[in-house]
Symmetry: C2
Subunit: 148 residues, 2 copies
DNA sequence: CCAGAAAATGCAAGTCATTTGCATTTTCTT
DNA sequence: AAGAAAATGCAAATGACTTGCATTTTCTGG
């Protein structure tokens, strides 16, 4: 692990939400070319340090988001999925993947071997729903507590 | 519905697999600018004539794929998900969405309103698995029957 | 059926995330 | 520490997709 790789992995590990390459560029505290950010993300994903998925939103367009993978004591990966609010553009953690059985079912049904999957939900978060209720359509509020 | 829109919707409706903007350009039989293809796909999706999801594969990179939505007699949409083979790059229909309940659970748990979702599986299809078994790693075969 | 307005389309250029080639620097191996 | 291998920076390219604007088609009221 080089310095750059350690640094980006640290950023991912300490983030509570998935980050795009651009998010990482903003958060990095050491000099690093943006090409290196992309290459590092590829490296981390190939080596199972992180997961990624593509998401399209009105504010950021289509981008790939990365999140650190937590390995369990038995060596398996704790793979998460995410909800993305179409109003405030925050991510909400949906916790550990709950479609393993569904996938196992498809594998059996179709005689395929599933190697990867991508699931993401979009909609309106509790906070934005509340804002709507209380006030018709005001301006969107900022992030819930700080930056995600 | 203009001529262009009807034509693209026809292409989507008669395809058994999701198509990218480029796939559609290849299949169209009337003159149409590629910008129009994109705008038409936006129109069709906004009006619930089709669904889309982004997918990344080694052969085509990251692209958005579109498939016609079938409306049931009760007016609801018959939303499907897809498996994509990382070797032959064919799609396999996973049938009607089976995660509605899971999503309803998340909505309740997190007090969010889910407006959309994207799920896709990647892996090796039955045919490619078989080719592997029978012959070590030969060249990949062509499409199953014709063009998908 | 026709005029005028509204919407759709074509064309050219632009945007933007991401990738690539190649030279230089850093890291690893012996 | 030397040499090879891998990583990084820089500049330019790629490729999906979007935008602005002029022209054409479609729709609506008369």
């Amino acid at each position: 692990m080089t310095r750059a790789r350690k640094h980006i992995l640290d950023i991912l590990t300490s983030s509570e939400v998935p980050l795009s390459a651009q998010d990482i560029e903003q958060r990095k505290t050491i000099e690093m070319n943006s090409v290196t950010v992309y290459r590092t993300l590829h490296y981390l994903e190939a080596h199972e340090y992180c997961d990624s998925f593509p998401l399209t939103c009105s504010e950021h367009g289509t981008e790939r988001y990365y999140s650190a993978v937590h390995h369990r004591t038995d060596g398996t990966c704790d793979h998460h999925h995410w909800f993305h609010c179409i109003e405030c553009h925050q991510f909400i953690d949906l916790g550990t993947c709950r479609i393993d059985e569904l996938i196992a079912g498809y594998e059996k049904e179709l005689s395929v071997s599933v190697v990867g999957h991508s699931l993401s939900l979009t909609g309106v978060c509790a906070r934005c729903l509340q804002t709507r209720d209380h006030s018709g359509n005001r301006e969107h509020q900022g992030p819930p507590q700080a930056e995600g």
